[in-house]
Protein backbone atom coordinates (compact mmCIF):
# COMPACT_ATOMS: atom_id res chain seq x y z
CA UNK A 1 0.00 0.00 0.00
CA UNK A 2 0.98 3.61 0.28
CA UNK A 3 1.11 6.46 -2.18
CA UNK A 4 2.62 6.02 -5.66
CA UNK A 5 4.82 9.09 -5.95
CA UNK A 6 5.12 10.66 -9.38
CA UNK A 7 8.35 11.83 -10.95
CA UNK A 8 7.60 15.20 -12.54
CA UNK A 9 8.81 18.78 -12.88
CA UNK A 10 7.39 22.20 -12.01
CA UNK A 11 9.75 24.16 -14.29
CA UNK A 12 11.41 23.92 -17.70
CA UNK A 13 9.57 21.01 -19.36
CA UNK A 14 6.65 21.08 -16.85
CA UNK A 15 5.81 17.38 -16.73
CA UNK A 16 3.50 17.84 -13.71
CA UNK A 17 0.10 16.14 -14.14
CA UNK A 18 -2.68 15.02 -11.79
CA UNK A 19 -3.80 11.41 -11.86
CA UNK A 20 -7.59 10.93 -12.18
CA UNK A 21 -7.65 10.16 -8.44
CA UNK A 22 -5.80 13.41 -7.67
CA UNK A 23 -8.32 15.35 -9.75
CA UNK A 24 -11.22 13.86 -7.75
CA UNK A 25 -9.61 14.84 -4.43
CA UNK A 26 -8.64 18.33 -5.60
CA UNK A 27 -9.64 20.96 -2.98
CA UNK A 28 -11.91 22.94 -5.30
CA UNK A 29 -12.46 26.28 -3.54
CA UNK A 30 -15.79 27.60 -4.86
CA UNK A 31 -18.97 26.64 -3.02
CA UNK A 32 -21.17 28.79 -5.26
CA UNK A 33 -21.04 30.31 -8.76
CA UNK A 34 -19.41 33.57 -7.63
CA UNK A 35 -16.52 34.64 -5.43
CA UNK A 36 -15.76 37.41 -2.95
CA UNK A 37 -13.42 37.60 0.03
CA UNK A 38 -14.75 36.25 3.29
CA UNK A 39 -13.28 35.15 6.59
CA UNK A 40 -13.84 31.59 5.43
CA UNK A 41 -12.10 29.95 8.38
CA UNK A 42 -13.33 26.57 9.57
CA UNK A 43 -12.07 24.02 12.11
CA UNK A 44 -9.33 21.82 10.62
CA UNK A 45 -11.16 18.60 11.45
CA UNK A 46 -10.66 15.39 9.44
CA UNK A 47 -12.44 15.52 6.08
CA UNK A 48 -13.75 12.54 4.10
CA UNK A 49 -11.47 9.55 3.58
CA UNK A 50 -9.08 10.20 0.72
CA UNK A 51 -9.73 13.97 0.67
CA UNK A 52 -7.05 16.65 0.99
CA UNK A 53 -8.26 17.34 4.53
CA UNK A 54 -8.42 13.75 5.77
CA UNK A 55 -5.22 14.32 7.75
CA UNK A 56 -3.56 17.27 9.49
CA UNK A 57 -0.88 17.54 6.78
CA UNK A 58 -1.76 16.14 3.37
CA UNK A 59 0.83 14.02 1.59
CA UNK A 60 -0.05 13.23 -2.03
CA UNK A 61 1.40 11.80 -5.23
CA UNK A 62 3.41 14.99 -5.86
CA UNK A 63 5.31 14.79 -2.55
CA UNK A 64 8.74 13.68 -3.79
CA UNK A 65 8.81 15.93 -6.86
CA UNK A 66 7.54 19.00 -5.01
CA UNK A 67 10.28 18.70 -2.42
CA UNK A 68 12.89 18.24 -5.14
CA UNK A 69 11.65 21.55 -6.58
CA UNK A 70 11.90 23.17 -3.13
CA UNK A 71 15.52 22.05 -2.85
CA UNK A 72 16.28 23.69 -6.21
CA UNK A 73 14.66 26.96 -5.11
CA UNK A 74 16.62 27.03 -1.84
CA UNK A 75 19.87 26.29 -3.62
CA UNK A 76 19.25 29.20 -5.95
CA UNK A 77 18.01 31.64 -3.27
CA UNK A 78 18.67 30.83 0.41
CA UNK A 79 16.68 33.90 1.50
CA UNK A 80 13.47 31.91 0.86
CA UNK A 81 14.04 30.35 4.27
CA UNK A 82 14.63 32.77 7.15
CA UNK A 83 14.01 32.82 10.88
CA UNK A 84 14.55 35.64 13.37
CA UNK A 85 16.60 34.55 16.41
CA UNK A 86 13.73 34.51 18.92
CA UNK A 87 11.84 31.91 16.83
CA UNK A 88 13.97 28.87 17.65
CA UNK A 89 11.47 27.45 20.18
CA UNK A 90 8.70 27.81 17.61
CA UNK A 91 10.91 25.99 15.09
CA UNK A 92 11.15 22.98 17.39
CA UNK A 93 7.41 23.10 18.01
CA UNK A 94 6.90 23.05 14.26
CA UNK A 95 9.26 20.13 13.75
CA UNK A 96 7.37 18.16 16.38
CA UNK A 97 4.02 18.92 14.75
CA UNK A 98 5.19 17.74 11.34
CA UNK A 99 6.98 14.60 12.49
CA UNK A 100 4.22 13.42 14.80
CA UNK A 101 1.49 14.18 12.25
CA UNK A 102 3.20 12.41 9.36
CA UNK A 103 4.08 9.30 11.38
CA UNK A 104 0.56 9.06 12.82
CA UNK A 105 -1.18 9.51 9.46
CA UNK A 106 1.28 7.84 7.05
CA UNK A 107 3.03 5.10 9.07
CA UNK A 108 4.00 3.25 5.88
CA UNK A 109 6.12 6.22 4.80
CA UNK A 110 7.39 7.89 8.00
CA UNK A 111 8.57 6.73 11.43
CA UNK A 112 9.60 8.54 14.60
CA UNK A 113 11.23 6.92 17.64
CA UNK A 114 11.32 9.11 20.74
CA UNK A 115 13.43 8.27 23.78
CA UNK A 116 13.29 11.38 25.93
CA UNK A 117 15.10 14.07 23.96
CA UNK A 118 16.76 11.51 21.70
CA UNK A 119 14.69 11.18 18.55
CA UNK A 120 15.15 9.05 15.46
CA UNK A 121 13.35 10.10 12.30
CA UNK A 122 12.80 8.01 9.17
CA UNK A 123 11.44 9.46 5.92
CA UNK A 124 11.22 6.58 3.43
CA UNK A 125 10.01 8.50 0.32
CA UNK A 126 13.01 10.86 0.55
CA UNK A 127 15.43 8.22 1.86
CA UNK A 128 16.29 10.03 5.10
CA UNK A 129 17.22 8.52 8.45
CA UNK A 130 18.32 10.96 11.15
CA UNK A 131 19.13 10.62 14.82
CA UNK A 132 19.05 13.93 16.68
CA UNK A 133 18.51 15.54 20.05
CA UNK A 134 15.25 17.46 20.31
CA UNK A 135 16.13 21.03 21.31
CA UNK A 136 19.74 20.88 20.12
CA UNK A 137 19.95 22.44 16.66
CA UNK A 138 23.58 21.34 16.28
CA UNK A 139 22.39 17.74 15.89
CA UNK A 140 20.46 18.50 12.67
CA UNK A 141 21.96 19.37 9.26
CA UNK A 142 19.81 22.56 9.10
CA UNK A 143 17.76 24.56 11.57
CA UNK A 144 14.66 22.64 12.74
CA UNK A 145 12.22 24.62 10.57
CA UNK A 146 14.30 24.27 7.42
CA UNK A 147 15.05 20.62 8.12
CA UNK A 148 11.45 19.55 8.43
CA UNK A 149 10.23 22.14 5.92
CA UNK A 150 12.33 20.41 3.28
CA UNK A 151 10.33 17.26 4.01
CA UNK A 152 6.77 18.55 4.00
CA UNK A 153 4.72 19.87 1.07
CA UNK A 154 3.54 23.46 1.40
CA UNK A 155 5.03 26.74 2.50
CA UNK A 156 5.20 27.46 6.22
CA UNK A 157 5.27 30.70 8.21
CA UNK A 158 5.83 30.79 11.95
CA UNK A 159 3.90 33.66 13.52
CA UNK A 160 4.96 35.11 16.87
CA UNK A 161 2.16 36.49 19.04
CA UNK A 162 2.77 39.69 21.02
CA UNK A 163 1.28 43.17 21.49
CA UNK A 164 -2.13 41.92 20.35
CA UNK A 165 -0.81 41.05 16.92
CA UNK A 166 0.81 38.24 14.91
CA UNK A 167 4.31 38.78 13.52
CA UNK A 168 5.73 36.86 10.58
CA UNK A 169 9.10 36.17 12.14
CA UNK A 170 10.10 32.93 10.37
CA UNK A 171 9.23 31.01 7.24
CA UNK A 172 10.20 28.58 4.49
CA UNK A 173 8.52 29.88 1.35
CA UNK A 174 9.29 28.39 -2.06
CA UNK A 175 5.91 27.92 -3.78
CA UNK A 176 4.33 31.28 -3.11
CA UNK A 177 1.77 33.17 -5.13
CA UNK A 178 3.84 36.31 -5.67
CA UNK A 179 4.81 37.50 -2.18
CA UNK A 180 8.28 37.84 -0.70
CA UNK A 181 9.25 36.39 2.68
CA UNK A 182 12.48 38.35 2.56
CA UNK A 183 10.52 41.58 2.28
CA UNK A 184 7.68 40.69 4.64
CA UNK A 185 9.62 38.99 7.46
CA UNK A 186 9.16 40.95 10.69
CA UNK A 187 5.83 42.44 9.60
CA UNK A 188 2.62 42.13 11.59
CA UNK A 189 -0.63 40.64 10.30
CA UNK A 190 -2.04 43.94 9.00
CA UNK A 191 1.24 44.96 7.38
CA UNK A 192 1.92 41.79 5.42
CA UNK A 193 -1.65 41.83 4.11
CA UNK A 194 -1.17 45.52 3.23
CA UNK A 195 -1.23 45.14 -0.56
CA UNK A 196 -4.47 43.09 -0.70
CA UNK A 197 -7.25 45.19 -2.26
CA UNK A 198 -10.82 45.55 -0.93
CA UNK A 199 -10.50 43.18 2.02
CA UNK A 200 -9.16 45.80 4.48
CA UNK A 201 -12.15 48.06 3.91
CA UNK A 202 -14.45 45.07 4.44
CA UNK A 203 -12.92 44.47 7.88
CA UNK A 204 -11.83 40.99 6.87
CA UNK A 205 -8.37 41.22 8.41
CA UNK A 206 -9.50 42.74 11.72
CA UNK A 207 -11.92 39.87 12.20
CA UNK A 208 -9.46 37.22 11.08
CA UNK A 209 -6.74 38.55 13.40
CA UNK A 210 -9.09 38.67 16.37
CA UNK A 211 -10.06 35.09 15.68
CA UNK A 212 -6.48 33.86 15.29
CA UNK A 213 -5.18 35.57 18.44
CA UNK A 214 -7.55 33.25 20.30
CA UNK A 215 -6.54 30.11 18.41
CA UNK A 216 -6.25 27.24 20.89
CA UNK A 217 -3.82 24.39 21.15
CA UNK A 218 -5.25 21.23 19.60
CA UNK A 219 -7.95 23.13 17.69
CA UNK A 220 -6.35 24.02 14.34
CA UNK A 221 -8.30 25.84 11.64
CA UNK A 222 -8.11 26.06 7.86
CA UNK A 223 -9.29 28.09 4.89
CA UNK A 224 -8.90 28.01 1.11
CA UNK A 225 -7.49 30.72 -1.10
CA UNK A 226 -6.91 30.65 -4.85
CA UNK A 227 -5.39 32.26 -7.90
CA UNK A 228 -4.37 31.06 -11.36
CA UNK A 229 -0.92 30.20 -12.70
CA UNK A 230 0.33 29.77 -16.25
CA UNK A 231 2.19 26.45 -16.45
CA UNK A 232 2.34 24.24 -13.33
CA UNK A 233 5.02 26.40 -11.76
CA UNK A 234 5.36 26.27 -7.98
CA UNK A 235 7.92 29.06 -7.66
CA UNK A 236 5.93 32.13 -8.72
CA UNK A 237 7.90 34.41 -6.40
CA UNK A 238 8.29 38.15 -6.94
CA UNK A 239 12.05 37.56 -6.84
CA UNK A 240 11.78 35.53 -10.05
CA UNK A 241 8.95 37.54 -11.66
CA UNK A 242 11.13 38.49 -14.66
CA UNK A 243 11.62 34.74 -15.27
CA UNK A 244 7.95 33.71 -15.17
CA UNK A 245 6.07 36.94 -15.91
CA UNK A 246 6.29 36.42 -19.66
CA UNK A 247 4.33 33.16 -19.26
CA UNK A 248 1.22 35.30 -18.78
CA UNK A 249 1.35 36.51 -22.37
CA UNK A 250 1.51 32.99 -23.84
CA UNK A 251 -2.10 31.90 -23.30
CA UNK A 252 -4.09 31.26 -26.49
CA UNK A 253 -7.50 29.65 -27.12
CA UNK A 254 -5.59 26.58 -28.32
CA UNK A 255 -3.31 26.10 -25.30
CA UNK A 256 -5.37 27.51 -22.43
CA UNK A 257 -6.70 24.09 -21.44
CA UNK A 258 -3.28 22.57 -20.88
CA UNK A 259 -1.32 25.67 -19.85
CA UNK A 260 -3.60 27.53 -17.45
CA UNK A 261 -3.91 26.13 -13.93
CA UNK A 262 -6.20 26.87 -11.04
CA UNK A 263 -3.91 27.31 -8.04
CA UNK A 264 -5.53 26.57 -4.71
CA UNK A 265 -3.96 27.18 -1.33
CA UNK A 266 -5.10 25.04 1.56
CA UNK A 267 -4.08 27.19 4.49
CA UNK A 268 -3.87 25.67 7.95
CA UNK A 269 -3.17 27.29 11.31
CA UNK A 270 -2.01 25.53 14.45
CA UNK A 271 -1.19 26.94 17.89
CA UNK A 272 2.18 25.68 19.08
CA UNK A 273 2.62 24.41 22.64
CA UNK A 274 5.96 25.77 23.93
CA UNK A 275 6.37 29.04 22.03
CA UNK A 276 2.68 30.05 21.83
CA UNK A 277 3.49 30.87 18.19
CA UNK A 278 1.21 29.85 15.30
CA UNK A 279 2.16 27.75 12.27
CA UNK A 280 0.59 29.12 9.12
CA UNK A 281 0.80 26.53 6.35
CA UNK A 282 0.09 27.40 2.72
CA UNK A 283 -0.22 24.22 0.71
CA UNK A 284 -0.41 24.74 -3.05
CA UNK A 285 -2.51 22.49 -5.31
CA UNK A 286 -2.45 22.90 -9.08
CA UNK A 287 -4.97 21.65 -11.65
CA UNK A 288 -5.12 22.44 -15.37
CA UNK A 289 -8.32 23.55 -17.08
CA UNK A 290 -8.15 20.31 -19.09
CA UNK A 291 -8.21 18.38 -15.83
CA UNK A 292 -11.04 20.53 -14.44
CA UNK A 293 -12.99 19.83 -17.63
CA UNK A 294 -13.20 16.17 -16.60
CA UNK A 295 -15.58 17.32 -13.83
CA UNK A 296 -18.70 18.97 -15.35
CA UNK A 297 -19.81 20.74 -12.17
CA UNK A 298 -16.42 22.37 -11.61
CA UNK A 299 -16.24 23.42 -15.27
CA UNK A 300 -19.60 25.22 -15.07
CA UNK A 301 -18.76 26.81 -11.76
CA UNK A 302 -15.28 28.05 -12.64
CA UNK A 303 -16.64 29.56 -15.86
CA UNK A 304 -19.20 31.54 -13.87
CA UNK A 305 -16.82 32.56 -11.07
CA UNK A 306 -14.21 33.89 -13.49
CA UNK A 307 -16.78 35.73 -15.60
CA UNK A 308 -18.21 37.56 -12.57
CA UNK A 309 -14.97 38.32 -10.70
CA UNK A 310 -14.56 42.01 -9.69
CA UNK A 311 -11.88 43.64 -11.87
CA UNK A 312 -9.72 44.71 -8.85
CA UNK A 313 -9.53 41.10 -7.75
CA UNK A 314 -8.67 39.89 -11.23
CA UNK A 315 -5.91 42.50 -11.40
CA UNK A 316 -4.53 41.67 -7.95
CA UNK A 317 -4.48 37.98 -8.75
CA UNK A 318 -2.73 38.71 -12.05
CA UNK A 319 -5.49 37.22 -14.23
CA UNK A 320 -6.20 40.21 -16.45
CA UNK A 321 -4.24 39.13 -19.51
CA UNK A 322 -5.88 35.74 -19.89
CA UNK A 323 -9.15 35.87 -18.00
CA UNK A 324 -11.35 36.33 -21.09
CA UNK A 325 -9.62 33.48 -22.92
CA UNK A 326 -10.24 31.22 -19.93
CA UNK A 327 -13.87 32.33 -19.58
CA UNK A 328 -14.50 31.67 -23.30
CA UNK A 329 -12.91 28.22 -23.11
CA UNK A 330 -14.80 27.23 -19.98
CA UNK A 331 -18.13 28.79 -21.02
CA UNK A 332 -18.08 26.77 -24.24
CA UNK A 333 -18.15 23.72 -21.95
CA UNK A 334 -20.84 25.15 -19.62
CA UNK A 335 -24.27 23.80 -20.60
CA UNK A 336 -26.01 26.28 -18.30
CA UNK A 337 -27.24 23.58 -15.93
CA UNK A 338 -27.56 24.53 -12.25
CA UNK A 339 -24.66 23.53 -10.00
CA UNK A 340 -25.17 21.69 -6.74
CA UNK A 341 -24.29 23.35 -3.44
CA UNK A 342 -20.86 22.79 -1.92
CA UNK A 343 -17.36 22.39 -3.34
CA UNK A 344 -17.43 18.67 -4.17
CA UNK A 345 -17.20 17.28 -7.72
CA UNK A 346 -20.79 15.92 -7.84
Amino acid sequence: MGIAFRTETFRDDFTFRNSPEAVRRFPFPFHEDKYMYAVNIEPHVPGPKGSATEFALDVDEHYVSELADRALVLKDDPLRCQSLPHMITAEWDFLELVMTSLTRDYPEHFALRQDGDRWHWTNRPLGIAQAFTFGDAATLPQGPMEYVGRQCQGDFCLLDQRDGNLWMDAGIITCQADWSLDFDIGMNFMEWHGPVPLAHQMGVFERALKFLLNLRLGQPVRRLNWTMTVNPRLDTSPENYPKWGTDRTTITPENVGSKLHLRVELQGLWRLPRSNAIVFSIRCYLISLDEIATVPKWTRRLARVLASLPPELAEYKGLTRFRQTAVDWLSARDDGAPTSAGCGPE
Binding site: L79, I185, G194, G245
Partner: protein, 201 residues
Protein backbone atom coordinates in the same frame (compact mmCIF):
# COMPACT_ATOMS: atom_id res chain seq x y z
CA UNK B 1 1.42 60.35 -1.32
CA UNK B 2 1.79 60.12 2.45
CA UNK B 3 -1.64 58.57 2.68
CA UNK B 4 -2.26 55.11 1.35
CA UNK B 5 -4.73 52.29 1.69
CA UNK B 6 -1.80 49.94 2.14
CA UNK B 7 -1.59 49.00 5.82
CA UNK B 8 2.17 48.46 5.68
CA UNK B 9 2.58 52.12 4.71
CA UNK B 10 3.97 53.88 7.83
CA UNK B 11 2.44 57.00 9.31
CA UNK B 12 4.53 59.51 11.26
CA UNK B 13 2.54 61.23 14.00
CA UNK B 14 5.11 63.99 14.54
CA UNK B 15 7.57 64.99 17.25
CA UNK B 16 6.25 65.78 20.72
CA UNK B 17 8.40 66.11 23.83
CA UNK B 18 8.47 63.07 26.12
CA UNK B 19 8.12 64.87 29.46
CA UNK B 20 9.48 62.08 31.64
CA UNK B 21 12.53 61.19 29.57
CA UNK B 22 15.94 61.53 31.23
CA UNK B 23 17.64 62.01 27.89
CA UNK B 24 16.41 63.21 24.48
CA UNK B 25 18.32 61.66 21.59
CA UNK B 26 17.36 63.46 18.38
CA UNK B 27 18.41 62.36 14.86
CA UNK B 28 17.60 64.90 12.16
CA UNK B 29 18.19 65.14 8.45
CA UNK B 30 17.79 68.07 6.04
CA UNK B 31 14.59 70.03 6.60
CA UNK B 32 14.06 68.08 9.81
CA UNK B 33 16.12 70.84 11.45
CA UNK B 34 12.97 72.97 11.60
CA UNK B 35 11.05 70.17 13.32
CA UNK B 36 13.80 69.91 15.94
CA UNK B 37 13.56 73.64 16.64
CA UNK B 38 9.82 73.28 17.15
CA UNK B 39 10.34 70.25 19.36
CA UNK B 40 12.74 72.05 21.67
CA UNK B 41 10.47 75.08 21.82
CA UNK B 42 7.56 72.86 22.84
CA UNK B 43 9.55 71.12 25.57
CA UNK B 44 9.99 72.06 29.20
CA UNK B 45 12.65 74.56 30.27
CA UNK B 46 15.24 71.84 30.83
CA UNK B 47 14.53 70.01 27.55
CA UNK B 48 17.54 71.42 25.68
CA UNK B 49 19.89 70.67 28.55
CA UNK B 50 18.93 66.98 28.30
CA UNK B 51 19.08 66.85 24.48
CA UNK B 52 21.69 65.40 22.15
CA UNK B 53 21.16 66.33 18.50
CA UNK B 54 22.70 64.47 15.56
CA UNK B 55 22.26 66.28 12.26
CA UNK B 56 23.11 65.75 8.63
CA UNK B 57 22.08 67.85 5.69
CA UNK B 58 21.33 64.68 3.79
CA UNK B 59 19.86 64.78 0.34
CA UNK B 60 16.88 67.04 0.71
CA UNK B 61 18.36 70.31 2.02
CA UNK B 62 21.74 72.04 1.68
CA UNK B 63 22.30 72.31 5.43
CA UNK B 64 20.72 74.09 8.36
CA UNK B 65 20.86 77.48 6.63
CA UNK B 66 19.44 79.50 9.48
CA UNK B 67 21.83 77.92 11.99
CA UNK B 68 18.80 77.19 14.11
CA UNK B 69 20.18 74.03 15.66
CA UNK B 70 23.24 75.76 17.12
CA UNK B 71 21.03 78.35 18.78
CA UNK B 72 18.89 75.80 20.60
CA UNK B 73 21.29 75.35 23.50
CA UNK B 74 21.31 71.57 23.30
CA UNK B 75 23.63 69.65 25.61
CA UNK B 76 25.38 68.43 22.47
CA UNK B 77 25.07 69.03 18.75
CA UNK B 78 27.02 66.94 16.27
CA UNK B 79 26.85 67.59 12.53
CA UNK B 80 27.71 64.82 10.06
CA UNK B 81 28.68 64.90 6.40
CA UNK B 82 26.34 62.04 5.41
CA UNK B 83 23.52 59.80 6.63
CA UNK B 84 25.97 56.89 6.92
CA UNK B 85 28.29 58.75 9.31
CA UNK B 86 25.35 59.92 11.41
CA UNK B 87 24.05 56.36 11.69
CA UNK B 88 27.49 55.13 12.73
CA UNK B 89 27.51 57.56 15.65
CA UNK B 90 23.88 56.88 16.55
CA UNK B 91 24.62 53.16 16.62
CA UNK B 92 27.34 53.73 19.22
CA UNK B 93 25.15 56.06 21.28
CA UNK B 94 22.25 53.61 21.33
CA UNK B 95 24.61 50.85 22.47
CA UNK B 96 25.27 52.76 25.69
CA UNK B 97 21.96 54.60 26.07
CA UNK B 98 20.45 54.23 29.53
CA UNK B 99 16.92 53.75 30.77
CA UNK B 100 14.73 56.76 30.18
CA UNK B 101 16.29 57.71 26.85
CA UNK B 102 13.73 58.94 24.32
CA UNK B 103 14.58 58.67 20.62
CA UNK B 104 13.29 61.21 18.07
CA UNK B 105 13.84 61.15 14.31
CA UNK B 106 12.90 63.62 11.61
CA UNK B 107 13.73 64.15 7.94
CA UNK B 108 12.98 62.30 4.75
CA UNK B 109 11.25 58.97 4.88
CA UNK B 110 14.33 57.02 3.84
CA UNK B 111 16.26 58.55 6.75
CA UNK B 112 13.47 57.84 9.24
CA UNK B 113 13.32 54.26 8.05
CA UNK B 114 17.03 53.71 8.47
CA UNK B 115 17.05 55.14 12.00
CA UNK B 116 14.07 52.99 13.01
CA UNK B 117 15.70 49.89 11.52
CA UNK B 118 18.96 50.68 13.36
CA UNK B 119 17.09 51.19 16.64
CA UNK B 120 15.30 47.85 16.20
CA UNK B 121 18.71 46.22 16.36
CA UNK B 122 19.06 47.71 19.86
CA UNK B 123 15.71 46.32 20.95
CA UNK B 124 13.86 49.62 20.63
CA UNK B 125 10.23 49.16 19.56
CA UNK B 126 9.36 51.41 16.63
CA UNK B 127 6.16 52.50 18.39
CA UNK B 128 8.25 54.19 21.09
CA UNK B 129 10.18 56.33 18.58
CA UNK B 130 8.81 59.79 17.82
CA UNK B 131 9.03 60.40 14.08
CA UNK B 132 8.16 63.34 11.85
CA UNK B 133 8.47 63.51 8.10
CA UNK B 134 10.05 66.68 6.70
CA UNK B 135 11.42 67.45 3.29
CA UNK B 136 11.15 65.60 0.07
CA UNK B 137 8.81 62.65 -0.46
CA UNK B 138 11.68 60.74 -2.07
CA UNK B 139 11.64 57.06 -1.23
CA UNK B 140 14.20 54.43 -0.42
CA UNK B 141 13.39 51.43 -2.60
CA UNK B 142 14.51 47.84 -2.47
CA UNK B 143 14.53 45.89 -5.72
CA UNK B 144 12.70 42.64 -4.96
CA UNK B 145 14.72 40.87 -7.66
CA UNK B 146 18.38 41.67 -6.89
CA UNK B 147 17.70 43.07 -3.33
CA UNK B 148 19.71 46.22 -4.02
CA UNK B 149 18.62 49.54 -2.48
CA UNK B 150 18.09 52.67 -4.55
CA UNK B 151 18.06 55.93 -2.57
CA UNK B 152 16.14 59.17 -3.12
CA UNK B 153 13.67 57.78 -5.62
CA UNK B 154 11.28 60.43 -6.87
CA UNK B 155 9.82 58.56 -9.82
CA UNK B 156 7.85 55.44 -10.49
CA UNK B 157 9.09 53.78 -12.68
CA UNK B 158 12.75 53.94 -11.63
CA UNK B 159 15.77 51.97 -12.87
CA UNK B 160 17.27 49.80 -10.13
CA UNK B 161 20.69 51.30 -9.36
CA UNK B 162 22.12 47.77 -9.13
CA UNK B 163 20.52 45.46 -11.74
CA UNK B 164 18.97 48.21 -13.94
CA UNK B 165 15.53 46.56 -14.17
CA UNK B 166 12.73 49.14 -14.48
CA UNK B 167 10.86 49.09 -11.16
CA UNK B 168 7.35 50.10 -10.17
CA UNK B 169 7.51 51.51 -6.65
CA UNK B 170 4.76 49.96 -4.55
CA UNK B 171 3.31 51.35 -1.31
CA UNK B 172 4.34 48.10 0.41
CA UNK B 173 6.90 49.04 3.08
CA UNK B 174 9.29 46.95 5.17
CA UNK B 175 10.30 48.46 8.50
CA UNK B 176 13.10 45.93 8.87
CA UNK B 177 14.61 47.08 5.60
CA UNK B 178 13.47 50.68 5.89
CA UNK B 179 12.39 50.60 2.26
CA UNK B 180 9.53 50.38 -0.19
CA UNK B 181 9.25 47.46 -2.57
CA UNK B 182 10.25 47.85 -6.20
CA UNK B 183 8.91 45.31 -8.71
CA UNK B 184 9.85 44.97 -12.37
CA UNK B 185 7.21 46.86 -14.34
CA UNK B 186 7.43 45.07 -17.67
CA UNK B 187 8.27 41.51 -16.61
CA UNK B 188 5.22 40.16 -18.43
CA UNK B 189 6.03 41.93 -21.68
CA UNK B 190 9.60 43.29 -21.83
CA UNK B 191 8.78 45.07 -25.10
CA UNK B 192 6.55 47.51 -23.17
CA UNK B 193 8.49 50.73 -22.71
CA UNK B 194 7.91 51.96 -19.14
CA UNK B 195 7.14 55.64 -18.53
CA UNK B 196 8.67 57.23 -15.42
CA UNK B 197 6.45 59.73 -13.64
CA UNK B 198 7.67 61.99 -10.86
CA UNK B 199 5.35 61.08 -8.01
CA UNK B 200 7.47 61.38 -4.82
CA UNK B 201 8.82 64.92 -5.12
Amino acid sequence: MLTSTNKSRPVYPGLAPRPFAQRHLIAAEGEGAAAVAELVAAGAADFAAKASILYTAGASAPSDPAGRLGALGADSLATFPSIETLLFRLDAMLATAGMGTALYVTGTEGFIGRVIALAAGHGIDHLTIAAEHRGSLARRVQCVHCKGFTENVTTSVVACSHCALPLTVRDHYSRRLGAFQGVCVNAEDPSEAPVAEEVFR
